[in-house]
């Protein structure tokens, strides 16, 4: 699959906190790249000697193989005082970067994959929720998503009905806003920044902006890593490895509404790197 329209997007390529002079070799959509800190400490990303456009935001270094037409998407909460900003690190997953995002958008798996943390039987029913593609921002949004969670966050004590909002601001990135146990009026922000290494291989960089003054940084990171390692065992055992845009071999249900909207959004914009076009 050609890199097509997805080439002119920003992608996470590493942690700002891990930048160093001698550089780290990695890849972006099948091209070798190197991520290093410049003499003046700023980030520098090159591919076969070519200097790529670069941004530093949300604790990560972002780069593009093409010419991004707009700035990196905004997350206002990233500048809100009182939040803990958590670099979770990276999880390598043998699946399409688009599959990683689709899994992040799904709640029906919580009772089975994240048992006794993000969900538990018999609380498996998925209530109807709202999904829209916000044309002005060109983003997919799912709102009014509700689900009972035994341990919604490190900061939660006891089961609560959590409210979620999902946002897809870029083809391989998603931002999740969820009820914040210590501060009912606020949203905790959990993001999934996915670096497409190849069509069937990606590095997942979760990042969080939370209200939680009790938990240690280690506990916050462990909580999220546990969840993503549970997801990895799913993502690496799904057929096909690429994300089907034609659900002819699947049975999407109403609970899969966000996944369907995400696939429609990818299809409409020609974001097909990591996608399967014909169902088999």
């Amino acid at each position: 699959m050609t890199q097509d329209a997805m080439i002119d997007e920003w992608y996470p390529v590493g942690l700002v906190s891990r930048l160093d002079g001698n550089g780290r070799k990695t890849a972006l959509m099948g091209e070798p790249i190197e991520v290093a800190s410049d003499t003046d400490g700023s980030a520098r990303v090159t591919s076969k000697g070519r200097v790529l456009p670069v941004r530093v935001r949300y604790g990560h270094v972002w780069a593009s193989l093409g010419q991004p037409q707009k700035e990196l998407f905004a997350i206002p909460e990233a500048d809100q005082p009182g939040r803990r900003f958590v670099d979770v690190g990276v999880v390598r997953v043998r699946c399409s970067p688009l599959r990683a995002v689709e899994n992040f958008l799904d709640i029906a798996h919580f009772p089975f994959v994240h048992t006794d943390i993000l969900g538990s039987e018999p609380h498996t029913e998925v209530q109807n929720y709202k999904v829209e593609i916000r044309e002005d921002a060109d983003e997919v949004w799912a709102t009014q998503v509700k689900f009972y969670q035994p341990q919604a966050a490190r900061s939660a004590s006891g089961g609560i009905t959590t409210e979620y909002m999902y946002r897809v601001p870029a083809p391989t990135c998603s931002v999740l806003y969820k009820t914040c146990p210590p501060r009912p009026g606020e949203w905790d922000v959990i993001t999934l920044f996915v670096q497409p290494l190849a069509e069937d291989l990606c590095d997942v960089w979760p990042w969080m902006a939370l209200f939680d003054d009790e938990s240690s940084m280690t506990d916050l990171i462990h909580f999220q890593q546990t969840i993503f390692l549970q997801d990895r065992s799913i993502l690496e055992n799904q057929i096909p490895r690429l994300l089907p845009l034609d659900p002819g071999m699947e049975i999407p249900t109403r609970a899969d509404l966000t996944s369907v909207a995400y696939r429609r959004w990818l299809k409409r914009r020609g974001y097909t790197y990591g996608a399967q076009l014909v169902a088999q």
């Binding site: 659900p247 049975i251 249900t253 109403r254 899969d256 299809k267 076009l277």
Partner: protein, 90 residues
């Protein structure tokens, strides 16, 4: 559980968009059959496909979810559903 009579809905589903590819109607029929839904294509032309469908609401929702994507050479702009009078016949 399976014996219990589900509340059978009868609906007219109207699919609009770039839908006149030869592969879409057979795709819809296959997907409806996989869901055990009785369906009847009432109209299939450039820009619009109309079908009557009967079954439990969750299954009709599943048909809508699938059809909103369909094969790669189709683009569905909107799907509207209205209660249809009587049965789909047969």
């Amino acid at each position: 559980m399976t014996g219990q009579k589900q509340d059978q809905l009868h609906e007219r589903m109207t699919i609009r968009g770039a839908v006149d590819s030869a592969s879409f109607v057979p795709w819809i029929r296959r997907h409806a059959a996989k869901l055990g839904l009785r369906q009847e294509i009432r109209h299939a032309g450039p820009g619009r496909i109309e079908l009557d469908v009967a079954g439990p609401v969750e299954l009709i929702d599943m048909l809508e979810m699938g059809c909103s994507l369909g094969p790669i050479d189709v683009w569905v702009e909107t799907i509207t559903r209205t209660p249809a009078a009587g049965g789909t016949g047969g």
